[in-house]
Amino acid sequence: MILKALREQAETDRICAVDEEGVKLSFSELHARSDALATFFLETLSSKAPVLLLGDKENDMLTCLFACMKSGRAYVPLTTSVPEKRADFIARDSDAELIIAFHTELLSSSPLKRLREKDIEGIIENRLGKRVHESHWLKYDDMLALLYTSGSTGTPKGVINCLGDLENLLAAPDIYYIGGPGMRVMNNFSYMFSAHMQHVYRTMTIMGSQMHAVPGDIQKDPGRLVDYYLKVRPDYLGVIATTCAMLLTDSRFCHEEMPELKGVALAGEVCSRKLIGDLFERFPDISVCIQYASTELTTVAVGNCITKEEFGTIKTEIIPVGRPVPGIEACLWDENGHEVRDGEKGELVILSRRLCDGYWKNAKDTVQAFFHLPDGRRGFHTRDLMIRRDGLLYYSGRLDNRIKVGGNRVELEEVETAVSSLDIVHQCVVRPVTSGDGRVNALIAYVTMKEETTDHLDAVIRIKKALREYLPLYMIPQKIMILPEFKTNTSGKIDRAAIRMFHEEQMEKLYKRRSESSPDLAK
């Protein structure tokens, strides 16, 4: 379905991707180049093992995604900012046969066969014009991508996304997504995250949009990001709430400077009334598309598209995540698996004909999170708590320690494991710092040291520097608080309830200090 759509788009003269330097890639070039690379894969790779892709948003990253699909194998995308040890774990865990590396020395000592961008160029040049027969293409039930997320056991967890899991992505009406034929869309999301599925396969391939790559370093700098947007003049943006809040700190992010902007999709985090209100103040005529998804759901499962007028009718502080997309049934269950009544809190359980196949080499977590129904559909426990009112779903917290920091999924246990494993650290508990609207602003690590330290600054620097070897930057706690000791319970373990209470007291002090220092602005 996706590959046939690419073939159809290749008949047009549309551009599908533009990189940071302005280098364009057309659908026909993408089709031809991915055929050439897939031919090479079929000629040289002995198994159907996945290909590890190390890169950012290079045009040929797209070539690699489609070449994997055309040669019947999965890809494992990794950004180049991933620490070496984490990348090494993923390379081994995924059973990848080949590494394709764009402008990075990451995993350069890996025993796996490695191709660099110049090798790819040569391979494609030598095989341009070759076509891969459909019989080699990835099948409906084959793994399309293995996406690694934060894992609660202390190591990254691979989520299996199959080609058929894109079924809901293709069936949903356009209102749940952004883009359109020839429309300029900013490609903000890393290919490491499932959000790339909707951008590459729906917005680009199905809808025929033109994706403009936003490199990872620009993504984090609001001034450069707006400079780049003003250069591209996009029709649509897909961003996380944190990035949107960051963009709003730049006065140029407004209709007068960006009159072409027609819509913004917000995914990955809770959206507050203030954020959406501020966005409509700057862009009164756009539509805002709220998207609820997760790596396990592959695509958007629940969505809500609102205009400024419709926003005016919403009275709640938290903006509803919306209604389930066609093909998805969204249930709210209590702890006994019974549907809760409207207005009551329950765990969001997603039922659908197609859902991800579970966790890679992890049957225990797969059985806990996924289940089968007698009617052939599958179910997924999201662990997200929601409330339903008038058919709309409202986010209301988590059942476990998974949180989103800057739109990135983080299991607090994984951060605790990494901090606790450092030579100088004795024990560690990590808690989120949340703003009034429920968005996580930062992580704070409460730490006890193996040896008493009087120089806290030095200890904090040593901890943070050491963590860079194990964790992606977004998982490193912004704040490290060194304590003399943790309270323990009768069995000698850390008294987590006491730590939680201590954390709440710290947060209260913080908010109180803020409201005292500036009573008007702190509201």
Partner: protein, 83 residues
Amino acid sequence: MKGAIMKDYRKIVSDALNDAVGIELKEEQYSLDLIENGLIDSLAMMNMVVRMEEDLGKRIDSRSFSNDDFRSFEHILSLISRI
């Protein structure tokens, strides 16, 4: 008067750093590279901006600073002195 304002600015930067990163710097550490030492990331920067906006009572437009303005205590002090 100028000295009193600088003292206020130092307190604003100090409070924002303490809120966002949990560290207190002595005067001799004001030139310490906060980015290179991993003490500040983009999220911490945004949290500091929010805190400093509250204390200054005015908006800090992202056009008026770059990541480099958060490289050290001195850099941040210089940033809020000029806006």
